[in-house]
Amino acid sequence: DVARELADDVTFRLKCLVQDGLKFTQHGKRNKFTTSDFDNSLKAKNIEPVYGVVSSEHIPWRLTSGGGRELHFLEDKELEVADLVSQQLPKLPAAPCVKSHWLSIEGVQPAIPQNPAPVSKHLQKQDAVNPASKLAAAHSGDRNNRNIHGRGLKSVETVRVKQLATHELSAEQQLYYKEITEACVGSDEPKRGEALHSLSYDPGLHQMVARLCTFIAEGVRVNVVQRNLALLIYLMRMTKALLDNTTLYLEKYLHELTPSVLTCIVSRQLCLKPDMDNHWALRDFAARLMSQVCRHYNTTTNGLQTRITRVFCKCLNVDKTPLATVYGAVAGLCELGPEVTKALVVPKIRVLSGKLEQCMEGPSAYERNAAIHIRAMLLKSVPPVLKTNRNPPDLLSDYKSEFGYLGQQLQTNVIKLRQCPGSSSSSVVVSGPPTTMRTLGSPTSSPTPTRIMQQGVTGGLAGRAVVLAGKEAVPGVQQQQAGGQKLIIMSSRAPTTVAQGVESVAGLVKPATLPGLEASGLISTTHGVVTPSSVTSPSVLPPGSKFVLVKTEPKDDDYGM
């Protein structure tokens, strides 16, 4: 009974305090009620607030008995003074500063990154999904007008003719379109970087998206016929930039984009010298784009993913398809995620491996090369799936009977994956480049690294990326991982020398990412270069720097740069 009375009273007091605290929230011009507001309202009531009970963890309720009473106490951990002193100081929060931009110029909001997009993504989506909504709005507007005018006057019948050319581009926009398209397919790499950056960050492009998509589609069509690999790569990078733009909703234009991208994945021939040029990278890149498109725009109504997978499957099914197409289809399917891989790729492995075996032993160097690529792709993306779907006793005979030629290598890879505990996560990173791409493409990163990122992501085309010295030092690691890996260091602060980058990677890599990849050799070799102090403290990492594992092909081309 006493407890109830007390509880009542405490509730009442608390509510009063919170009510007062809300005033502080209001004057702090915030939406969120914070603990400091509560402290302030306590202070206003002349009650000493309780300080120091900031804890992110659960506070255990402990009791001790002594002197015939039970006491509640909080456990205070003992802290070592030396630890506190030697600890790295936490990073200072960035100093506030004032930045200015034009919110409106004579009543018109300029489309600059600081302002929200003129037509919000939500509206674009609505527009794409439900074209009738606009019509309805127009109608209701009409009705209102009529009500106002109405009464006695002959209401003017307005027939709404759907305009054929709805996209009128202003002179500036036309100029912009010209500049952008020229820069994107031109030979000036820095300019292309700028153009792609503009495409992926500028709000207010939605009026031109239609034109740009047509440009891409036309370009792909022409260049596939002409087998101009470089231009195809540039066009895919443009597509990527458009997809990365957070203010655009591209669903309306997918009918143009999807075929182009698909072409780049599964086309029979993409370049003039198929045995020399690295068209595999383009296929990989386009496959990643495809999966990005699926992730963003797949709905139950448009069945995008189903349709795309059907295309890929068809390429796999026909026995006579060229190996390049098969490679593209496998890559495309694998990029769509483990589920798709499991359902569609794994059953096909047996057939494929038969063909691969045949090609490997065949006379044509080109076919052998293609077969090697397909094998590498399969060995990279299939084992993680197998690992989760099969039970541990990985018998070689089972694998052989199920997968034929590839069975042995698959089995060794699966066993290797099972052996290293941390590898599941790292393999996810490796097999799912989309995830790494997403982290990189986050809108917070400043313009400079993004450009590097784009170049890096273009697969093996990255020439400027900083390649870890470990490649020569531990070739074993490179060989064992299909496709090979490179560490690329990206930092948002410009002045990071290669040496620093290597240090920081060594510092971070050791605990985190590469435990399973026999990385000790790598680390030990880098230790030689690195001063010990910097290795021990990861905080030397320049803030904002990221490191990513990017798949690279053994052969490097120069198109990226």
Binding site: G28, N46, H101, E106
Partner: protein, 719 residues
Amino acid sequence: MADTGNPTYASLAPANPTIINGMANVDLPMMPIAESGGIGSNGHLPNINSPASNSNVSDLPSPQTPASDVKPDGYTDMDKSTMIAVIQFLKRGNLKVTEDILRKECGFFEPVDLNGATGALGEEGEVLAAYKTEGNPAEYLDAYKALLAFVEKSLDAYKHEVSGVLYPVLAHMYLELIYNGHRSEAQELLGACAGVQETHHQEDLRNISLVTTRAQMAGQPLLNTLLSGEYTTRMSRDSLAHLKRFLADRSSGPVPRIIQDRLHIDLYDGQPRNRHQVLATQGSITGEAPRSANKSKIYFGLLKEPELQSLINEEEEEDDVDKPKKKKPKKDALQKSKKNDPNAPPSNRIPLPELRDQDKVEKSRIYRDSLRRVALGRDTLPSACFYSFVNAAHNVCSVDICDDSSLLAYGTSESTVIVQSITPAKLKAMKPAEHLTDIDKDSEDVLVRMLEDRSAETQRLLLGHSGAVNSLCISPDRSLLLSAGNDGTIRLWSLQTWTCVVILRGHVYPVWSVQFSPHGYYFVSGGHDRTARLWSTDQHQPLRIFAGHYSDVDVLEFHPNSNYVATGSSDRTVRLWDCSTGNCVRMLTGHKGPVTVLRFSPCGRYLASGSTDCKLLVWDMAAHGTILATLSGHSQTLYTLAFSREGTLLTSGGLDCALKVWDFAKVTEEGREDDVTNTSAPLEDKSLLLTTFTTKQTPILFLHFTRRNVLLAAGPYNG
């Protein structure tokens, strides 16, 4: 006061008007006297707490006040009762010395009984005790339902006015039940009937429902307001007659008793209002404003501009070479502005500082800028420049931009004040004293020479507060900066030496808002202690204390002619105070949430106010406190308003990251047409909203039009 011909500042300081205004009904939060370690406690802390004891406080800083102002023999009966109340207060607080001084000064030696019937302590108990009834708790619910049914069945003409009594009756019934210990019945009553109340009463009802025992009833600000019997509803004669007929039918029972004892029904002649009109003025804690509160005349006109002919003529001669044709219209405009506004107060109604040379230069610059400014209107929308504070998410509490748009100051919740120059000019500090003596005082550019060139910076940090900085204001001449903080102090900073010049401790509780008068010298502050105070820059005691609000004074705004101060409060009213008499001359009700921003139009006739209820109300000062327009469109609390320099556009911004531009010219046009009768409904029209500019997660905390009508906005980026 003004009869001395040459008024001095100090003549503003006589104390008596301050004491009296509204004090009888105000319950200031009583600070426990025993407290010693409280916020900013200093020697005279308890003194400041009560408007009553300020009789001696405000006497102090007026050495020049003629002695006749405080003559013992001049006391009327009212003074005497006030005196008794004051002394009772002092006795209760054991302030023996203060009491003695007061008695000596006033020659008032009658014994005062502490347990007198009018004692404030007894008062509260007495008010509560009035709730003691022997009524049957069961009949309350039935009685209230009968009242509901009556209102429901009334003719539409009376229905809405009569329904004004529903909420207060319910609240008082609940409290009566609680007081008499019938807790379950009380909760049942509220549970059954709270749902049918208007939405803007729900929050109050929720607060009331927190109280569940008799002990909790004391000390609740909302309850005290209700208990003081001040809830006002306005009714036409017919509606009241209608209500009275109903009450006569059931002469016993709680409803008639409550309406009789606890409500103040303000009667007016004329047509009963419709629902829209009734709703427009409801919402404050104390119901609607009685007509009597808004009767007095207001001088809302602008003051006469001082002679600037000579300065401007000089410039015109310079300009003559370029455009000799323009000379005439310019002069005409000047002549026109000098014509005396019939609504303007006499220029010596409030002593204002004399113009210095520097001010005259400034005035002429304003004039020159005004000639070059863009005329804004519904067809020519403003250009807006946005200053966003990066790395300060949820941290910036207050922003101010000085009138000539050269300085931007912002205060953070980490108690810092940062002043930033937003023009290329750097912020310079004054030279040290020994160098200052070397400067020739008569030289023309003495002000420039005083400053140290080497100290130029674009940003300056002012440290001193020990709590969030709630409000900032830069003086019109850009030499001083005021800041008000959660620590209960107001600080006056010099923008030449970049140091704190004065710490003004007057408010005991957090100070929410502070503002300079448009003519400089005076400033007002308001805070959690429910008072607004008028200060001057050369005295450390307030000149006036405006007490009357039932809750925190959240925001303040000086009238362009410096004679009036508007205050907005958490009790959801806006009040207008006369600086020279200290009286409340307008009480404006209609907001449904705490008032968060106030702004006078440049012509001085209209007042725009914004609130947490996301509405923007426009009031006409010329009429008796009528709402001219209700502008709704925001989705969250409004924090700032700005009029374009010629008063044709009104811009508003708030937490919802949207800047809205309203067609104010249209508001005023239509307002004039129907000649503001008392019962006209406020204008509410979607077409008044001209456009909306949205930002990316940046709430807009400050808006300001430069002298050439470029809109400046500021807010922290919360991304």
